[in-house]
């Protein structure tokens, strides 16, 4: 009698188990989540390492003439085609005064070192920029300071 009760109880358990499944369920399903990751870096960046000095010609000048130097950097070991945009002109103003000098004729070493149509320039690339200062015959002596912007575009 005791054995019968036990098996009847097991049968009831099994019946309860299967009846617990919803009869209307068409699918059993499971889900999970995954992350998406990506790192975005600028393909090109440009940083000044030396200012441009034009027309240093007096005993009071602090620095000799020198081209501006920029470091064009990108992905490690990368080779990229890029162009450089330079200003057509800029104005330098005398320190402590209001007199100005026009600086124009900006040019770089890019055209000869990294010509268009080449497979690319190895990075980092040392970009040199020069320019011409238009000094009037009666230009007041002094130190003239201005700024200009260099932009690199990846092709």
């Amino acid at each position: 009698m005791k054995a019968f009760r036990a098996s009847a109880g097991l049968a009831a358990l099994v019946a309860a188990f299967f009846s617990a499944r919803p009869a209307s369920a068409q699918h059993d399903f499971a889900n999970t989540r995954a992350s998406i990751g990506v790192s975005i870096v600028p393909a090109l960046s440009v940083q000044k390492s030396r200012d441009l000095v034009v027309g240093a010609s007096g005993p009071s000048e602090l620095a000799a003439d020198s081209a501006a130097v920029f470091q064009v950097t990108g992905p490690a070991g990368g080779t990229l085609l890029f162009t450089v945009a330079l200003p057509s002109s800029t104005t330098a103003r005398r320190v402590g005064g209001s007199e100005t000098i026009t600086v124009e004729g900006f040019h770089s070493n890019l055209s000869s070192m990294c010509p268009a149509g080449a497979s690319g320039c190895a990075l980092p690339y040392t970009l040199l920029v020069g320019a011409t200062a238009r000094v009037d015959s009666n230009q007041r002596a002094g130190q003239y300071v201005g700024t200009f912007t260099v932009t690199v575009h990846q092709l």
Binding site: V14, Q26, H27, R33, S35, I36, V38, S39, P75
Partner: protein, 168 residues
Amino acid sequence: MKRSCAKPSPLLAAAGVFLLAAACAGQTCTGPPPSIAIAKTADLNFGSLGATASAGTAVIDPATGGRTVTGGVVGLSGSFNAAGFSVLLCGLAGPKRFTVVLPSSAVTLNGSGGGTMTVDTFTQNPANPISGNTIATTPFTVGATLHVGASQTPGTYTGVFSVTVTRP
């Protein structure tokens, strides 16, 4: 990565859920058999990309794990991979196959530098339905398309997507 799973004895069908849960650590069935369980084995990783003044895309192919870039996006060195999942069918009854349901709308990624990007066009390999079994897990992979904006803000971007598997 295969995870084997003990086959439940028919005599112990009532206890099958608990046997499976014990036998498949890390991958368990939540419902009574026949049921299904899924585990993630790899996150979707587009690797390292260079942003330029032109917008573009990066696509991960789930079949090959390869990456293709279009537009102004530059593919940089470093690892990238499709997302990976493994599926275990639980219980002896029912067809031995399952269907994967991927996001139908775009997922937004947020960047450490403040920008956002979207990921859409999720694809899978193999195609639905996928044959599975109750003894070992069945793997499948998921790829997608990442949309990178013009001059996209640099940074590390992360997001989350959900994958559902159903068993007929």
